[in-house]
Every structure is written in C-alpha cells, then in structure tokens.
C-alpha cells in the first residue's frame, strides 16, 4: 500500500503552541510519526550566564505559563539545597498550597481543551468556568494569575492571611461541588468514553521504558509521584498517587480528574497544619556546588540540574520538563493509531511546548 505523509501542526486546533508531526500514513492508519520541535527554542538555560542567581527565579518561573510557580519553586529548592538554607516551615507550606492550586488550574485547563477537542463545547466552558475560581484564589493570594512571583530563594514573598485562608476553604468547597458534576460527565458520558476509551493504549512496561512521567505514567499503572520524595510540606502530608492501569486516553483523563480532588485534599491538609513563623530565611553569599532537584509538576516530574562555582552567575542550569520526557511515548503511541485519533493521543499527554522550548 502506498504511503502518504500528512503534516500535523505546527498550527492545529488542538495545539495552542507550535509542534509539528510528519504523519506517515497507509490508508488511514499512521505507521510512523516524526516529531519536529524547536520552532521557538528560547535558550533559557544559557541565560543563566547573564543573570544573577537570585534574579534567575523570575526566568525559571517563565519557563512555563501554566506550571510557572512550581518551576520557580524547584529552582529555589535546588539553590537552597546547594547553599544549605533552612527554609521556614510556613514558607514550605505556602509553597505547597500554591503548587497544588497550580495543579488544579492546569488540569482544568487540560480538561477544557479535551472537551473542546472532542466537540463538547459546553463542557469546555464549564471546566474553564471552574478554573476561573481557582485563578481568582491565586490572584487574591499572590497578586498574579499564572505568574505568581511569590517564591524566592530562602522562602516566599507573600503570606496567606487567616481571612484569606477562610475564604480559600469556602471557595474550595464550592469548587469541589462543581468538580463533582463536571468530572462525572468526563468519566461517565458515553460520547466522551467512545472518544477516549481504548485510544492510545500505553502499557506499563512501555511507559517505564520510554521514561514517562506524571499522569501519563500513572495512567499506565506506574505508581510514580515526586511529591512522595517529601519536598516542601509533602513530608507532613498524606499522599497516595492516583494510579490507573488501562493506559488509554480515558485513563489519562481519569487520573487528572481524580487528581483535582487529591489537590483540594492536600491544600486542606496544608491549611490545617499551616504553622506560624517567618516567611523567608536570610540568604547571603553565592552558591557553590551541584545538585539535581526534582518536583512533581501537573504534567509530571521536572528535573533541575544546577551547577555553581561560588560566583553570582551559575555555571550550568539544566531543566528537563515533563513534556520533554513524555514526547517519545507520544511518538510510539501514534504508530498504528487511526488518523482521526491523532489529536486525542497528542492532547492526552498534555503537551506543553513552552516547557519543551525552554
């Protein structure tokens, strides 16, 4: 049978950012997918040679426009590990709360995009309507909506007052009720099940061999979650990774749906245990040493490699984002799938090209 190459992207309705795939098809079956990234590579890793290591928190936060806070947090954690800075407990808890709020708004963004991709426009609007409430909490507590600017080396810049905590609990309860309704549609509606079930199945062994992370790995039965390393306040919170074994697009959707409730639970746990105290430790001198720091982004494990030589500029800044780790699995999943399923498969890895083009 003759083969045809169909270009997919870099502009496509399911792709808010530029990534390109050459899909080699026989009839309507994809036999090979060739990815092309690098359309908007920003060279942020090199920028560390120009920016002071303290200023660089702002750059790290701008690696991604969705999971920005956890990027800044991971960078700070890496520098703090090298400089052996003891971050105040209250700051660790506040970082955890803001990190989980990031996860909720990121997953809701993805759910909205998925609803849109399968043609369920009213569900898309409901997902993003709920996301607005999360963004409002973030705005009220940090002043920003996606770029928080509240994390710094040694701690945090802002506090969450008792009144704000009370308001946050109230809004989270409302959000929880809304989520129960919306996720019920994502998980029970027959049209969504027909579109996602059995599409893009990734086995547990393949997920491991291909280096998958985050919901992508957990939907294939791998119980991996960097929050269990116990960074920030996770050392004091109860967390059990949400794991599904089916490995298909529906399982990836289900993991994200259930993680929304998990994040609300973690925020409540953190609010219950939020200790009093300072917001930041004093930072003096320059870092000298090397570390690999890992945290759990909404899309999975992010790795920050920092190498410092005692000057104000770091010698090397390396960030491996979760999308970068999940791209090989996406390429494998596309081999053998129907052409009509390509948008669903691409979307269910929750690709963030901003992260990838760091």
């Amino acid at each position: 049978m003759s083969r045809t190459i169909i270009p997919f992207g870099p502009q496509h309705p399911v792709l808010p950012e530029p990534v390109h795939l050459d899909l080699v098809v026989e009839d309507e079956k994809v036999v090979e997918a060739r990815p092309s990234i690098g359309f908007v590579h920003r060279g942020l890793e090199k920028l560390v040679e120009r920016k002071d290591y303290q200023e660089f928190v702002y750059v790290a936060e701008r690696v991604c426009g969705i999971c920005s806070f956890i990027h800044g947090q991971t960078y700070c954690q890496a520098i703090e590990a090298i400089m052996q800075i003891k971050v105040p407990e209250r700051a660790l808890y506040l970082r955890t709360i803001w990190g989980e709020l990031s996860r909720i708004h990121s997953h809701l963004l993805w759910l909205g995009l998925t609803a849109d991709a399968v043609g369920f426009e009213s569900l898309f609007m409901h997902a993003w309507r709920i996301r607005e409430k999360v963004l409002n909490i973030i705005e009220a507590t940090t002043g920003g909506r996606v770029i928080f600017g509240s994390c710094k080396i040694g701690g945090v810049r802002r506090d969450i007052s008792a009144e704000q905590q009370q308001q946050m609990r109230k809004v989270l309860s409302e959000i929880e009720v809304d989520l129960q309704e919306v996720t019920k549609v994502f998980l029970k509606d027959s049209s969504i099940q027909a579109r996602l079930c059995g599409v893009g199945v990734l086995s547990s062994a393949d997920a491991h061999d291909l280096g998958c992370v985050g919901p992508m790995a957990r939907a294939s039965g791998l119980s991996t979650d960097m929050r269990r390393l116990g960074y920030a306040a996770f050392k004091d919170l109860h967390i059990e990774p949400v794991v599904k074994t089916e490995g298909d697009s529906y399982a990836r959707c289900a993991v994200r749906c259930l993680e929304l409730f998990q994040s609300i639970d973690l925020i409540r746990q953190a609010l219950d245990k939020l200790p009093e105290g300072e917001l930041a430790a004093k930072v003096t001198g320059n870092p000298n040493g090397e570390v690999m720091a890992r945290t759990e982004q909404p899309r999975g494990e992010v790795v920050y490699g920092i190498k410092a030589n005692g000057s104000k500029n770091l010698q090397r800044f390396r960030v491996r984002t979760p999308t970068f780790a999940n791209l090989p699995a996406m390429v494998k999943l596309l081999q053998g799938c129907d052409l009509a399923d390509v948008p669903v498969v691409v979307l269910t890895i929750d690709p963030c090209i901003s992260c990838t083009e760091r």
């Binding site: 270009p7 090979e32 060739r34 060279g43 040679e49 090397e290 490699g305 010698q315 390396r318 791209l327």
Partner: protein
C-alpha cells in the same frame, strides 16, 4: 547528603556498559545533559532507581564522540539530538537522528561557546523544522 548530589565519574568507553547495567536493574532514564567546559564537554546521564537518582558523569573532548544509548533506552534520542544541536556533541548511531535539525536556532551549536557570552537565539528564517531530515531506525 542524598544521592541527588552525587555523580559517579566514568570514562566515555565505560558509558554503554554502565547504562547496560542500569537497564538490567530496570532503572528509568530521567535526563541527559551536557555542560560546556573550556576544553571539553561534561555529560550527565541521570537514572531513577527506586526514587533515588543515579548520575553518571563523564568528560569528552570537543572532537570526540560518544555512543548512543538509544539501543538500550530508545527515548534517549531526544536528549542526544539536543546535545548535538546545542553543544555540537557527536553521538554515534542515534535511533532517530535529526541530523542537526531538532532545534532550529539562528546560531548553530548555541551552547557550545565560552560561558558568559550567551549566543543570540532565534528562529531561523527559512527551512523550518518541518523540513527536517530524519533517519529512523526504530
């Protein structure tokens, strides 16, 4: 000190064997990266074994090449192409070789230069990434 701070130094000719052993122990490839030193490139291969990081560290001369580990970890092709495109590292027998077209930066091998003189990066005006030449061997 956790293992996240530790780096096991090996030679380039030991790389494949060391990765083979990690593969046999079901380690997950976490990342590969390069750092530009004055006369060499410093490579770091990180693996996850039971939530602990194992970091392999090696130095290679700027004219030397390293073997691809894509026959053990197919997913390494992205990291290896990245190191080639940004640092001019020669990697032999990559399963999916983009031949220098993974990153379409205005400055070729933008991270290979001396530190402190960050090269300007941008999108090449013509011949976008979609025209990439591929040699797939998977």
């Amino acid at each position: 000190m956790s293992r996240d701070h530790q780096f096991e130094v090996i030679r380039a000719d030991q790389l494949f064997g060391a990765v083979e052993q990690l593969r046999a122990r079901r380690a997950r490839l976490v990342q590969i990266c390069a750092t530009s030193l004055p006369n060499a490139l410093e490579l770091t291969y990180s693996f996850d074994l039971g939530s602990e990081l194992t970091n392999l560290r090696l130095e290679v001369g700027k004219e030397e090449s390293v073997p691809s580990i894509t026959s053990l970890y197919w997913c390494a092709f992205l990291y290896e192409n990245e190191m080639h495109d940004l640092f001019n590292l020669q990697v032999s027998n990559i399963a999916v070789d983009f031949k220098g077209t993974l990153y379409n930066t205005r400055t070729k091998f933008a991270f290979a230069g001396p530190q402190g003189k960050a090269a300007g990066l941008g999108i090449a005006p013509a011949g976008g990434a979609s025209s990439a030449a591929h040699a797939t061997g998977n």
